[in-house]
Subunit: 405 residues, 2 copies
């Protein structure tokens, strides 16, 4: 189940970048589960990684390698997260890099490994390594769509976004894919996101742009509040088209705008495909004292099982929304009378209670929609934040009670 | 559904305290929904209330009145929480006190009101006030069992506990009832708890004892992480048996021990009757740097939808447990290698990965049980904390998607 159907776009090719996908038998036999990105030697690469203390072995290796050497290959397997696997897991992640490096004649540290899937099982190294030549054979500038499917786990639909625009008269393309459906409350990045542009961008600026765009996209979504051990998002600039330099503020602004918009599209598609999701919900908190207060309140509402089950039931249960706001950590001295809530365009709560003008019919009409916006005004300042989430359905329980067994 | 069957005890009567229950037609017709406690004028009373910023009208009135006058009556209605009801709700709560005070010839501020049920609907005052004489007529020292049923909402079973012990050679009794099933992550007290003893205890000491015992019972349980707007727990000492004075440290210790044990029994029965619960889960976090760090980690695991659905599925999914620990707010510089987890008596995780000795069969044997203990050793200090929770089932979604509609 997913909120709406979303089709993969016709990806813009990124000069200097090829993608190959193969079936290595790590997931069920015959499924695509191994993806390789090949980066031209002109490329710069930036990454953001999970803040979960239990970060997986590949995250540790990728984070280390990217500091040492300019990345030339990314290798991603699904079906197994190589997390909670101790020193064996670290050795396996390094062996994956070494094997791919040998096949491609690069420095082993120029390979970044990524894994997603079941936690706590050892990687099936024989099958993974045997699959590498097939994925290399498949490398192609038009490999994006196959890769979008090749990185999925419990996702029901592949997720991609692409855009083309001009900087200083030169065409610049950005393409990206992402995966993620459960254990989604990224704290740095989504489960996995791979985005590339043909622009030329120095690494420090690339990293800063990725961080900023992550804050406005992947770090503002939540499905179930559980932060993955394997979250990672990579941004590659192959250096084959226009230069985006710090000094050229107009170019930076144009690139930032395109990147944020593309990453938001990817992030939203993760929420739409959230485990068991039947609603796509935007939660805007306004009139907060600080942005962090607004964000905390938005996430408290977004994580409330009672709010999420009411959304699933299309029940405009504003009492549960108020109760969630009221228990927001750090929201001191909130004046109940100052709180206003809009459900879509319908005024639901004013002065801390049900709005006089509100009717169940008007609320139900909004609740029946697949896309719902909750606008919460705290009445105590000017700061605002927005997060995106989905509802909590029987299917969420089914999916997560059955997974692994 | 509830974890196990629990029968109400044969309540010890509390000299100086009578309880009356009636049907006022606030819930479905014919159901008991109105309860009055009558306190001898020798009584001292202490209360702890929700910290939710949106506390309900009756909580505001009760919190105010108890500061001004020694309570003589508590009046509780179910079926309607009188929360999110603005100035009308406040006036209704005060009117309830005034009407009962007129019938009983006491100061209106000597009446404390409590409400639980649907949020955001006005109290049906005509029916509530008409029911007061019937509840007064029913006042009896043996009224506890009827009251235990009279305060329920979505609970499937009434909850009570009682004990008798001696202090300085004199018999002392404590009896208590509680209600609560969903929106349970008390922050001060359970949804509603009423506990009384015939001991003689000055108010400051009574308040301190209630706070301490709440911290070790109601403030250590969670069903869904949602803190109610109506939480309140009252402790009454009627002064008809032994004196418990600050100077008599042995008496204070004996009373504290009995009270903590009784309140834990009530708190556990709320978890066992948690909405949709099929498992009763004890989460012990040990070897933390500080108690607050241990508590934060325990609640992070207890609130994780992925851990809760795995418990529902009887799946010893230790990866999800590690992932939850790893995202505990404020748990800085956790060394994964130092973490050990026991599932019951079975060593599940050692050095941050699956224990070499662990078998799926051993884990499954523990998981099949209705009562499960997770013991998590962080390997970085001496502090520990315990919380109690339940699993997350299809029925939780059904109950909360259907409630109100």
């Amino acid at each position: 189940m997913a909120v709406g159907q979303f089709e993969l776009p016709e990806f813009n090719k990124i000069a200097g970048l090829r993608v190959g996908t193969a079936s290595a038998g790590i997931k069920k036999p015959g499924q695509q589960d191994l993806v390789i990105f090949e980066l031209a030697d002109t490329s710069t690469t930036a990454g953001v990684f999970t803040l979960n203390a239990f970060c997986a072995a590949p995250v540790q290796v990728a984070r280390e390698n990217i500091k040492e050497v300019k990345p030339r290959y990314l290798v991603i397997n699904t079906g197994n997260a190589n997390a909670g696997t101790g020193s064996k897991g670290l050795a396996d992640a390094k062996q994956t890099c070494a094997s791919l490096a040998e096949l491609t004649q690069v420095n082993p540290q120029a390979v970044l490994p990524f894994s997603t899937g079941v936690i706590g099982e050892p990687l099936p190294m024989d099958r993974l390594l045997a699959g590498l030549p097939n994925a290399l054979d498949a490398l192609d500038e038009s490999g994006w769509a196959a890769a979008a499917s090749g990185i999925l786990t419990t996702d029901t639909q592949p997720k991609g976004a692409t855009t083309i625009f001009t900087i200083n008269g030169e065409k610049v393309a950005i393409s990206g894919i992402a995966k993620g459906s459960g254990m989604i409350k990224p704290n740095m990045a989504t489960m996995l996101g791979f985005i590339a542009t043909d622009a030329s961008i120095a690494q420090p600026l690339l990293k800063q742009l990725l961080k900023e765009a992550s804050e406005l996209s992947f770090n503002r979504i939540t499905v179930d509040g559980d932060t993955s051990t394997n979250d990672a998002c990579m941004l590659i600039a192959t250096g084959k088209s226009a230069e985006v330099a710090v000094e050229d503020t107009a170019a930076v602004a144009a690139f930032r705008e395109a990147l944020v918009s593309l990453m938001q599209e990817l992030a939203w598609s993760i929420v739409r495909d959230g485990e068991g999701a039947t609603k796509f919900v935007t939660i805007q908190v306004e009139e907060a004292l600080t942005r962090s207060e607004a964000l905390e309140a938005a996430f408290t509402v977004a994580h409330s099982p009672l709010v999420k089950t009411a959304l699933y039931a299309s029940d405009a249960n504003w009492g549960r929304i108020l109760a969630a706001i009221g228990r927001t950590p750090g929201l001191e001295n909130l004046q109940v009378e100052g709180v206003t809530i809009f459900l879509g365009d319908v005024l639901l709560v004013e002065e801390g209670g049900r709005a006089a003008s509100y009717t169940e019919e008007a609320g139900a009409a909004v609740m029946q929609q697949e896309e719902i916006t909750l606008r919460i005004k705290l009445g105590r300042g000017q700061a605002e934040e927005t997060v995106w989430t989905c509802d909590f359905s029987h299917d969420y329980v089914s999916i997560n009670a059955d997974y692994r067994s």
